[in-house]
Subunit: 273 residues, 3 copies
């Protein structure tokens, strides 16, 4: 099922509109290209309605939100939903500031995204109105572990049921849930946390995967999570002597670019619960 999702992305090369932060935007664009899709960025309220109309999906990332881009998120989000496009929300730093929490909550409630992808602290903030964050990283107290896995799966399913969105919670263990089922994914390496932007890249890729696989969005997002985690493993394995986090960043995107369906099938580590 994962490899079929990959095949569809490469066949359809979906165009993804990104309203995203300026920290990792270049990596998001190159990661979307690497996975076989095509990115466009626009965050001016007067521009986004036209731009999102020609795309198949919209990736909203609040990482460096501002008054103008927030307005653009709502304009684009409403238009994208009218057109039945895929909308993904990446609530970067929800819980770390009132503006981020409020904006992410409003997008969740008013735009009703098809997918919400964040770390556990951000998702807890949206789901429970609480949850602690350490800046844009999840607080350790919040992490998904083997010990609390059943509870976290139930939490993700319940939040999906309430929002009618596929919920992707990423960290050492990744969860991708709808109201009925949850993919528990164990790909990735710890070293990915030494690079900025793997989460942002994943949100872009997940949007592309969902656009090309609208009949099973949960599976599509799970496939994107496996691609990203597996790319982290491959990129890390490909590091040469003296190479560190900056080269790892490149090698991960390279791995997304070079991954084929067979290596995804072989490398994906997930169970369905």
């Amino acid at each position: 099922m994962l490899e079929k999702a990959m095949e569809n992305v490469r066949k359809e090369t979906p165009l993804v509109h990104n309203i995203t932060n300026y920290v990792t935007v270049n990596d998001v664009a190159n990661a979307i290209l690497a996975c076989g899709a095509s990115p466009i960025m626009s965050d001016e309220p007067q521009d986004v309605s036209d731009i999102t109309s020609i795309c198949g999906g919209l990736n909203i990332n609040i990482g460096t939100l501002n008054e103008r881009s927030i307005e653009a998120m709502f304009v684009a989000g409403k238009r994208a939903k009218e057109l039945d496009h895929i909308v993904l929300l990446d609530p970067v730093g929800a819980g770390a500031s009132k503006l981020r929490t409020d904006t992410a909550t409003r997008i969740m409630n008013e735009i009703k995204p098809d997918i919400i992808r964040g770390n556990i602290s951000e998702i807890k903030t949206l789901a429970l109105g609480s949850g602690t964050t350490k800046g844009v990283d999840a607080d350790i107290a919040d992490s998904v572990t083997e010990g609390n896995l059943s509870d976290m799966i139930s939490f993700a399913k319940a939040f999906s049921k309430r929002t009618n969105a596929v919920i992707a919670i990423t960290g050492a263990i990744d969860l991708v849930a709808d109201s009925d089922k949850c993919y528990v994914i164990r790909n990735g390496v710890l070293e990915m946390s030494r690079i900025t932007g793997t989460g942002c890249q994943l949100s872009g890729i997940a949007t592309a995967y969902a656009v090309a696989n609208k009949d099973d969005i949960t599976n599509a997002v799970a496939a994107a999570v496996c691609v990203m985690g597996l790319a982290g493993e491959i990129g890390f394995a490909n590091l040469k002597e003296n190479e560190g986090n900056s080269t790892l960043r490149n090698r991960i995107i390279d791995a997304i670019c070079n991954m084929d369906e067979e290596s995804l099938t072989k490398g994906a580590k997930y169970e369905l619960r």
Copy 2:
């Protein structure tokens, strides 16, 4: 002639003011440095007049335009023209939204840039008020091919005559035209389309080349197009096992950095029509 253009850039190290998108801005800066020039970025209306005054050229790229940056483009553009600086327009996504088409058209008509560089869809949009785009990429129906080459050369020359700007249309085959002559350039590799920003980088480099070669801007832009395409070929040839689009991005800028006049002369593939 191309190698003389390169020599002049490295001798003069022109300072280029860039009002450009935040997606590829870092690559634009490093590509300008790689080619031997020096970049500065500023897009605040209150700042750009001073900044452009100390530069030799202005590179206007509308890739992530917003209300503020559009104002800055006009302030800087007018000031640059008053000072007889080189102005280049990169109409990213013209045709994909009304705001982009209108802004690019107004800059073309009111600022009168010395150079307009885009893909064929963007240039057609400016020239004909039509032309289809697929986001920020050219629509396949619009491409310059061996079959329509004569017509496209005539089109580029006529558009140059009307605008009094050097017209650079880049794609699988690149055209650089003034009203009298057209360079047809066949450098580059297909894999460059798997990276974001090679077009933006080229616009930055072309501005630098024109600043250092004001006596023959057409030749200067053609040289820049050859440098970029040849760097794509070299960068791709330098890819090692398991490397993909992200590393290709680095290797292309590296190739710009390491290219000398001899390798440009030997590697440039162009004819004059």
Copy 3:
């Protein structure tokens, strides 16, 4: 002393709030991660007070300042000082435009940063109201040389005394001064000037070092300058055939990531004056 500063950063993993330019922001984030700290970016006036409150330090870089981000710099700067956080000012391009000179001067006078880091032209502009710049690079006439070293050390100490800030002047020879002492640092390679952003990265790292070493900020900043310069040397030494400025950028951040206390102690080249 330098290695102790490094150890403290890695033990505390300080969170650094960056209001910085969009040209080099990704490299700043990855460099901060590489040195063992954690970055967060926010430049919306309504967001920055909350964000800076959860951090330990604030890095203000005016490289692509605009009306909104300038307001955010003051809101965040005042809040950070109230909370006794470390504030660093990087006056990119001060001297190149009135807006930059005025903004940097106002931040210096009203926020009273703990650290000011720039090239000699920028620092002279702040200290003397004059100084020439060539865009964002120091003018050659302004450089710190073996010939004028004593004078420059006195200048840096006097400026530190007047501002009560640690003054870091970086270039071929780097100076890090408080009112009593000055570190003269001779790490680094010329090729670092062919990449955009090593100065910006250093400002981010220096903020992190100061946060984790509040009892001796001068030493902390000197340590950060040595780390950056030494990383430049290591990164350059690690360049392979055909690699140029773009790969050098990655190899420098990699070197920051992989540097240990022993190699810092062995590689740092400084004298205390």
